[in-house]
């Protein structure tokens, strides 16, 4: 029997550019052409001013650790506890949920406000997830 797998995202027409981006090694956000608001998750209009004139751009991939839990039980399929479920605040402003890699999953190692940078984890040939690791230097 196959190992249980982690939940796989299924893109929609509104989010396809994001998942195309992660596959190409880019974290893509959207910016409103009218009011310059940067937002996430993806949608083809600005949630701040309702303009439909919005652009996709490559984000810096830099941010900091806003908050997290270290999940012990119950564990999601495909995860070995304990593992951190984090929320990262990107330098461009939006926040996103993610996992923190290359870092012990402990309260001591996971310091709030620590600087992070994006990394990419291919789940299969269609979906690559953005995750974060402690920033170098």
């Amino acid at each position: 029997m196959a190992e249980p797998q982690r939940a796989r995202p299924k893109p929609t027409p509104e989010t396809q550019h994001f998942w195309d981006g992660t596959k190409a090694g880019e974290l893509r956000l959207q910016r409103c052409d009218a009011c310059a608001h940067v937002y996430f998750p993806p949608r083809p209009f600005c949630p701040s001013c309702a303009s439909r004139k919005v652009s996709v751009f490559k984000a810096s991939g830099k941010g900091f650790l806003y908050s997290y839990v270290i999940n012990h039980r119950p564990a999601a399929p495909g995860f070995t506890p304990p593992y951190a479920i984090a929320v990262v605040e990107l330098d461009e402003g939006p926040r996103m949920m993610s996992n923190i890699i290359d870092c012990p999953q402990t309260p001591e190692a996971l310091e709030l406000d620590m600087k992070l940078e994006v990394a990419f984890e291919a789940l299969d040939d269609k979906i690559t997830l953005p995750v974060f690791r402690p920033a170098k230097g």
Binding site: R8, Y66, I70, N71, R73, P74, I85, V87, P107
Partner: protein, 379 residues
Amino acid sequence: MRRNQVAVVGAAETTELGIIPNMSQLQLHADAALNAIADAGLKLSDIDGFATAVETPQQVCHYLGIKPTWVDGTSVGGCSFMLHVRHAAAAIEAGLCKTELITHAESGKSMIGKLPRSTPADSLNGQFEAPYGVYGPPSMFPIPVLRFMKTYGITHEQLASVAVVQREWAAKNPRAMMKDPITVADVLNSRMIAYPFRLLQCCLVTDGGGALILTSADRARDFPRKPVYIMGTGESVETPMVSQMETFNSSRAFKTAGPLAFKEAGIAHKDVDHLMIYDAFAHLPLFGLGDLGFMPHEETGQFIADGNTRPGGKLPLNTNGGGLSYMHSGMYGMYALQESVRQMRGIAPAQVPNAKISVCHGVGGMFAASGTIVFTNER
């Protein structure tokens, strides 16, 4: 909405609470509804307005044999029933119905006839949260806690004291699931669930239900029970994704719904005799005390640790024992409302002497939604 124009005239929980292996979720709805009907001295045929959440109104109405002319299926999580009360008050005042029944039931533990909950892979939650290992409320609801603690200087011991104090209230409630006293050390040594939260800081998982019946305040005088008036109401929603809250330092939905209810009721915080804040997890009373304006968030942890909310304290909070110790079927809001009604009727097992105003504040999802009801027993 004008204050005190609508009243609760029937209120009851299911005959049993806790583990109910001999009843489906739908029958739990009916059990609670029939108990509330009896409490109000009504017949099912007197009901012309109906509201419920998760189960559809048509499902429960058909099962009970109710033929409503006003239906509300608002389903925004555990505070749906606060929103139902608000909508019922508006509908009754507008003349859309005369007597409304609100039911909640959940076979949360025994899982008999419980509707499956799923997160589609192409939903926003399915794309941007589920892949990171969230798995049920314990892995999601506490995500804001560490930021909240850092911003306001809240300690682990203060967050543990929430569970300790509520257990003191539960000890006074014969129907509470967990009644044995606990200490801060017990909480901090209980099994880790999702750091920073341990088992005793997470809600119970139980079976049960509850129902309310509302009618106009003018008609309410003719009912057998002491009427409990709807003095003020508020509601809001924010986001179904906890990661997308505006901030982890407060809840926008709380900060919208709570003040709306206070303003409508025309009350100040010092007027509140009794308070319920939906406690799916131990941080919610802290968010609630701050977001509803009782005190700055910085002071909420110490306020509870100092015993101000325990039996005999100056602000009795979650007097049934809360979701942490009384019961939590999955959508706890109905049980908070039931306790507020009991306190206003003067019949609660841990009755607050001479309580005249009760505030009942609910959360839905992971800070996704909120509803606040101010009750009073004086018109």
